[in-house]
């Protein structure tokens, strides 16, 4: 089935400023899909496990306090009820070790946060087009 626009997109991001920018880019890139932000991996997992929660996509920062993005990713992929959710890593780090580890753990994509609103809008547009428009989601 196609991804429903009623499904929210969950964001794990500890920087409020980064989330504000992401939100600005998100609304510029299209309609639908509420963005929900959690400040770390633990909070993200709690939200994902709420009854009735169905996330269209997870946008995961890597560097976060408490549970970081890679740890949260591992936990999502280890949980059969969450494992099918696409997780796009969204990080400032180009570190090859981080990129490799993310894909090994089952990340759907790894995107480096661009600098600049326009660049961010472009990146978000691509993500939306692909993960929310093109691909099929399980029933």
């Amino acid at each position: 089935m196609k991804v429903s626009t009623s499904w929210p997109v969950l964001v794990a991001e500890d920087s409020p400023a980064d989330f504000l920018l992401l939100q600005a880019a998100w609304t510029r890139a299209g309609n639908g899909h509420t963005l929900l932000c959690e400040p770390d991996g633990t909070a993200l997992l709690q939200r994902l496990r709420l009854p009735g929660m169905r996330a269209a996509l997870v946008l995961m920062d890597v560097n976060m306090p408490r549970m970081n993005g890679l740890e949260a990713l591992a936990e999502i992929k280890a949980d059969p009820r969450l494992a099918a959710t696409p997780v796009v890593m969204f990080s400032v780090s180009r570190n090859d070790g981080d990129v490799r580890r993310a894909y090994q753990l089952g990340a759907s994509s790894y995107v480096v946060k661009p600098i600049g609103l326009h660049e961010l809008v472009s990146a978000v547009t691509l993500i939306r087009t692909y993960w929310l428009g093109l691909v099929e989601a399980p029933e």
Partner: protein, 507 residues
């Protein structure tokens, strides 16, 4: 009396004192000796002992012919007084009366001969004088030689004694026969104590060095030489010991110091490696942390521009544009610095790289920067270099984009890349431009981090590019330098050091 050497074996005239009170006998003696061919003797007659002693005190005589019975002195008394007066001069006794006891006493007392007067005694006397003189002469010579030998022996002994080395002489049984002062000092015992001791100095053949245990638990180390000699007409071993204890100790100390130094170097190297990776991690995290606020400044400024831009006047819009330019500059600075700091520890993997295609590729990549300016590139005859391809690429990107930047405004800009030689084995690559150049006194500053010769408004830049280039070249064991004339142009030269597998060079 004529003297003729061919007549006798004596070397010259022999002066003979004759103690004879009988004038007839004296005459007879004269006659006998003058006809004698064996000896050229000159006789001086003294009738009394006192006359004889007087003469002996005033002149030298080779022999004394002595009649024991003289006026005023008789028998052995005459002989003994004479003997006492001239102990060195040979005495020959001749007498009118034969007396066995007197003869024996005279001969035991040192007389050369004892003859009895009688018919035919003349030739006997001459022969006796001749033999006595010869014997005396030979003995004197032997004594002289013996004295010389003794002197030489003394000198040799002094040399042996003065030697700081230990000198021992052992006989076949291994008993000590001689030690020098060096040995006394080494063993702390007197020569008298050491000589005669047996078995304490066994040295296996072929030994080069021995440890000598000493009383008190200490020991000395000595180099050994053994020479087979004769000592007191018996085969013996001359043993030379050269004390090398101090030298060995010093050697051991040096070796220990070296080990210590090596450990220290290893330790320091490990510390440096750790410090380097710490710095790199630090630079990594700093650059990430610095980027975050930049991202926010840029993002929010752009949002502001979008949402309020239409309502802002021109000067406010210029300010927004200025903020965005500054952010961009900061971002580039952080990227460059991060790249520079990573260069310190990234591995350099060298392989042959064809420089020509690499330069052409970089020029194509830089095309957007020329922005339609007239640029004449000249790339010719570039060799293959043994280098890390990605790092060499960074070098060229920096050098060529610098050349592009500093020729801005030239019509046309001319940039040449060519090999040159400065007499070194490694090829030298030159990048020459006809740009603004720089003053010679700035040539050294160029390659430092953040060293910029131009203002940001003249020529933009972070001041990290040439520092990066230098670090890459240095990590290849090479060097880089530059020459320029202000207003005319600049030339940058670099050469890489030999790699582990140097590129094949045309023969």
């Amino acid at each position: 009396m004529n003297h003729d050497e061919s007549w006798g074996t004596t070397r010259g005239r022999v002066e003979v004192l004759v103690l004879e009170d009988n004038p007839g006998d004296a005459r007879l003696l004269h006659a006998e000796f003058s006809g004698e061919v064996l000896i050229d003797a000159h006789l001086t007659i003294a009738p009394r002992l006192s006359d004889g002693l007087h003469l002996l005190a005033s002149r030298e005589f080779d022999a004394v012919l002595l009649n024991l019975d003289l006026p005023g002195s008789r028998g052995m008394e005459t002989f003994e007084r004479l003997r006492a007066a001239v102990p060195e001069v040979p005495l020959i006794v001749y007498t009118g009366v034969h007396d066995d006891e007197v003869a024996l006493r005279a001969l035991r007392g040192g007389a050369q001969d004892y003859l009895v007067k009688g018919p035919g005694i003349g030739p006997l006397l001459a022969r006796a004088v001749h033999f006595a003189v010869e014997r005396h002469r030979v003995r004197a010579e032997l004594d002289l030689r013996a004295a010389r030998l003794e002197k030489n022996r003394e000198a040799l002994r002094n040399i042996v004694e003065a030697s700081a080395d230990v000198i021992l002489i052992l006989d076949r049984s291994g008993a000590v026969r001689f030690v020098n002062r060096g040995a006394e000092k080494m063993y702390g015992r007197s020569a008298a104590d050491l000589v005669g001791q047996a078995g304490g100095f066994v040295i296996q053949p072929g030994t080069a060095e021995i440890d000598i245990p000493l009383p008190g638990g200490t020991a000395r180390t000595a180099e050994v030489r053994v020479v087979e000699i004769e000592w007191d007409e018996e085969p013996a071993s001359l043993i030379l010991l050269h004390d090398v204890t101090e030298r060995k100790l010093a050697q051991q100390q040096i070796e220990a110091q070296n080990v210590l130094l090596e450990d220290l170097v290893r330790e320091r190297t490990a510390e440096l490696v750790a410090a380097n990776s710490e710095i790199e991690a630090f630079a990594d995290s700093v650059s990430h942390d610095l980027r975050a606020p930049l991202r926010h400044i840029k993002g929010f400024t752009q949002m502001l521009e979008e949402e309020a831009g239409a309502g802002l006047d021109a000067s406010a819009q210029t300010l927004l544009a200025r903020i965005l330019r500054s952010v961009e500059q900061m971002r580039k600075l952080i990227d460059d610095l991060l790249g520079f700091s990573r260069l310190g520890s990234c591995p350099v993997s060298r392989q042959p790289v064809a420089l020509g295609p690499l330069v052409t590729g970089v020029i194509e990549e830089l095309a957007p920067e020329t922005q339609g300016r007239p640029v004449e590139w000249s790339v010719a005859g570039l060799p293959s270099l043994d280098a890390d391809p990605s790092l060499l690429r960074v070098v060229l990107v920096n050098l060529l984009s610098n050349a592009l930047k500093f020729t801005r405004g030239r019509d046309p800009a001319r940039i040449e890349v060519f090999p040159t030689a400065d007499g070194h084995a490694a090829p030298v690559i030159a990048v020459r431009d006809n740009g603004v150049g720089f003053a010679a006194e700035h040539a050294q500053r160029l390659f430092g981090v953040f060293q910029r010769l131009h203002s940001q408004t003249e020529f933009e830049g972070t001041g990290v590019g040439l520092a990066t280039v230098k670090r890459i070249v240095t990590r290849h064991g090479g060097r880089i330098w530059a020459e320029a004339v202000p207003g005319v142009g600049a030339t940058f030269f670099f050469s890489l050091g030999p790699g582990e597998t140097p590129p094949a060079r045309p023969s």
